[in-house]
Symmetry: C2
Subunit: 212 residues, 2 copies
């Protein structure tokens, strides 16, 4: 399984979290870019892989996995030597799942109202009303993370886990979402420290080198 995985991604999406985790795990994989500009995620070839028409999708020998928290848990469990999640400790593992669930169900969703408001309302006025709220809703999420959830120096404390690439990925969008990251010193420092990891730099370079 470890030699045949394929990660379907698009640049500047949450797929980066899974991409970084594959690098951290030392996995052998192929990264395949989906061109959102050409609406490739909604074409039959890709819908046969992921009927949701979203990225990321991780193709394994056993089948396809979607949804970032699930892909991250799978990578962590499949490459135990990388120590990305403690599967022998139900409470600690659940804390990681809890953090990543918050990111997918609340933080990413708040952000998505800036670019993908058409999912939840029709009409330009409603879509613009959603866009206006994004700095506040995304800002509240990150303030809560900064104050209540971030142990430091990594999300869960002394040990780097699959929470770190996921938080890092969503924190990349703060400026465009109109949130001042400088008011969040822990998240700001975390983002810088993540940029210094060679695994992170490699994943970002792979995703952006093919951009026109």
């Amino acid at each position: 399984m470890k030699q045949s995985m394929k990660l379907f991604y698009a640049a500047h999406t949450c797929a980066l979290a899974s991409h970084i985790a594959l690098e951290e795990a030392g996995a052998e994989y192929v990264a395949i870019r989906i061109d959102f500009g050409a609406d490739e995620q909604r074409k039959p070839d890709y819908l046969a892989i992921n009927p949701k028409g979203h990225v990321p999708a991780l193709v394994t020998e056993l089948g396809v996995l979607t949804e970032t928290p699930a892909i991250l848990a799978f990578i962590a469990q499949s490459f135990p030597d990388a120590g990305l999640a403690p599967f022998d400790d139900p409470f600690s593992f659940a804390k990681i799942q809890s953090f990543n669930s918050y990111l997918c169900s609340t933080v990413h969703v708040a952000h998505a109202h800036r670019m993908r408001g058409y999912r939840w309302a029709d009409g330009q006025a409603a879509i613009e009303a959603m866009q206006r709220k994004v700095p506040q809703s995304v800002g509240s999420c990150f303030s809560l993370i900064e104050k209540e959830m971030f142990a430091g120096p990594w999300v869960m404390g002394a040990t780097y886990t699959v929470c770190d690439p996921y938080l890092f990925t969503l924190s990349q969008w703060l400026e465009a979402d109109g949130v001042d990251i400088h008011k969040m010193p822990k998240i700001s420092e975390h983002r810088l420290r993540m940029m210094g990891r060679p695994e992170v730099a490699r994943a970002i370079a792979m995703e952006t080198r093919s951009e026109v």
Copy 2:
């Protein structure tokens, strides 16, 4: 740990999924009702337990867990005899996590635009525009589940897992969301079969018996 857990819930919320799972696991726990009518979820006593001001929250000897997919994974791993998730099979476990991530990040979110639109936009017109879209957005999610994700007779196939109480819980809201469940025979049949389980009936009875 198994004797001191407390589940904070409110009736008619996604906390029911965790409540059912505790019953299925045979756990010893206390269920504590949070009164949304009195805005109890936003008062200091409860915010000290869950700073997000949401339910469910599961208080364990080791600390508090929030977010349904994490609570469900914790219950499954803490009570392995109940067989609610295969922790020794990374791919099958990730499939469960993927399904539950979809429920929390996409299905529950689509539904929440009917009652909690204020999270994502200000102004009555935008909130009403969101409400109008709910039958379509929730309907699309459940159609995808019916066609692509539901193996049958349980969500993952022959084995009942923590996906089943979570899907059941969200399917309770279909009529109020304006979605015709009769167009989804698998989900409709699943909901009926879940109602027949004594664990499900017990959890629902506990949550509704104190209603005025």
